[in-house]
Amino acid sequence: MAQNVLAIAEQIEGVFRKVTFEALSEGRRIADHLGCELNALVLGDNIENISKELEQFGADRIIVAENSALFEYLPDTYGNVIADVINKETPDVVIMGASTQGRDIAARLSARLNAPLAMDCVAIRFEDNDLMATRYMYGGKILADVVLSGKPQILAIRPNAMTIASAAGTGSIEKFEVNTGTPLVKFIEKHLDTGKVELTEADTVVSGGRGMGGPDFAVIEELAQVLKGAVGASRSAVDEGWRSSSDQVGQTGKVVSPNLYFACGISGAIQHLAGMSSSNVIVAINKDPEAPIFSKADYGLQGDLFEIVPLITEEIRKLKG
């Protein structure tokens, strides 16, 4: 089998996750460097019609693994099918988004295939003939360059870190004969807040901290809403029980790198800074002029967040007309 790169797409109920386009775009760049094909793998039920979309991001062959048992992600069914595809295609590089699903698959595959894995990569490059991945460690305090030896090299890329580029791929669709094996894990049900923007994928994140003084995050939510962004929280706000742990930004929560980050009533503890320092622009709003967050923010506003944040929301609303 000739050299090739395999990108694993992720779709939820017929809609591709944004990081899928990032994985394909980065996969295309790698394939161009290697001078080989980029193939995409889509798993799910009733997904052939959406799969064609991936050719716009450089997919040459689009491998469709369609089966009712693949409607919901399960580690064993998805793991079995993806491993079968990899064994057949023998890709040099396998790339996917480091979502909860992608991380799960990447970790399990690395063991099954005895393959090197770089989790949560933010940059990929070649040095001589080595594939080098850059990834954060210590919750964002350290950047590591790792080199991967062996095949396939598995890359799970952090959402919002790679740029999406359109590229024309051949886009031929191929059906893969699915054998899910005998799965042990069974899907029961799920509860999704579909209106909610995922923190790690959001272009804008508005976070509240101890300065919120309680569980009422209405001013934060309104600002996030007008920017179509996500709401985050500092560890103290989560520890107080004001927000759910899935909203936590920081070393023991999620690491985010949005285009715009608002830190409201967050003092800027080292473990929070670790989780948001790679944001493009940071705005901090805090009552305390000495708050450490001001030494990391591009723009600081000293004052009462409950007064300032709604005014900012109003100004943005005017701007957006």
Binding site: R17, P75, G79, A98, S99, T100, R103, D104, A106, A107, S110, A111, R112, A115, P116, L117, M119, M132, R135, M137, Y138, G139, K141, L143, L148, S149, G150, L184, V185, K186, F187, I188, E189, K190, L192, D193, T194, K196, E201, V238, S245, Q248, T252, G253, N259, A269, I270, F294, S295, D298, Y299, G300, L301, Q302, E307, I308, L311, I312, E315, L319
Partner: protein
Amino acid sequence: MEIVVLLKQVPATESLIEIADDGVSIKSDDIKWVINPYDEFAVEEALRIKEAHEGSVSILSVGSEKTVEAIRTALAMGADKGILVNVPDGDVYDGLTTARILSAVLKETPFDMIIAGQRAVDDDNFQVGPATAEFLNIPHISMVIKQEIANGKIKCHRTVEGGTAILETPLPVLFTTQRGINEPRYASLPGIMKAKKKPIDMKTITDIGLDPATVGKPLTKIVSLKTPPERKGGIMIEGDSAQAKAVKIVKILHEEAKVL
């Protein structure tokens, strides 16, 4: 119910991390070492399952001798015994190697359930739990915030983007813990006293049937560490009123920073 908790000792999250002279490791002298916060949830969950279903809780770790402290802390919380695969301080393993070491021990250890943190907050690999399950050929469920055990099966609430998925699988299983699953207990003074007498089984790589030469060759190798570009404090937005400040910041974000 025989439960094994996979535990890693890591620098406390409030630690300042500095790169050592070799450029591929960190300065470890001034660091306070603690149980990985996600593994603390795993210990707590194991203890609660033991309290509800009887059985025992073992703590399994790979690390240098100083890891004994972290294992002792877990024993003081209430775990029954520890196993440490003792490796030289300074040895660096990728997630796959660690999973291979852990699974070599687990193949010789009876268990119904393995619990691990969803990731260690030093390497941030998210790899060891699922990879260990794969080596043992058992199912895994990651990022669990709630579990219920009945009739030889476990139902887990797993956090996913934007919500929760509920999955079920027969035992044995490996699951990984996410923040929100519980509030870990503190070790009590009697607990600390009792922990001193609890057994910790020390093993070497050779003891568990692996070849130190192979183990020492990670497939994913760190070639350099650097600190991310330091963010400098920027501009304080001044103004006579909150209104004036709000108008100014929105104008700057729109016209200069071009992020609106």
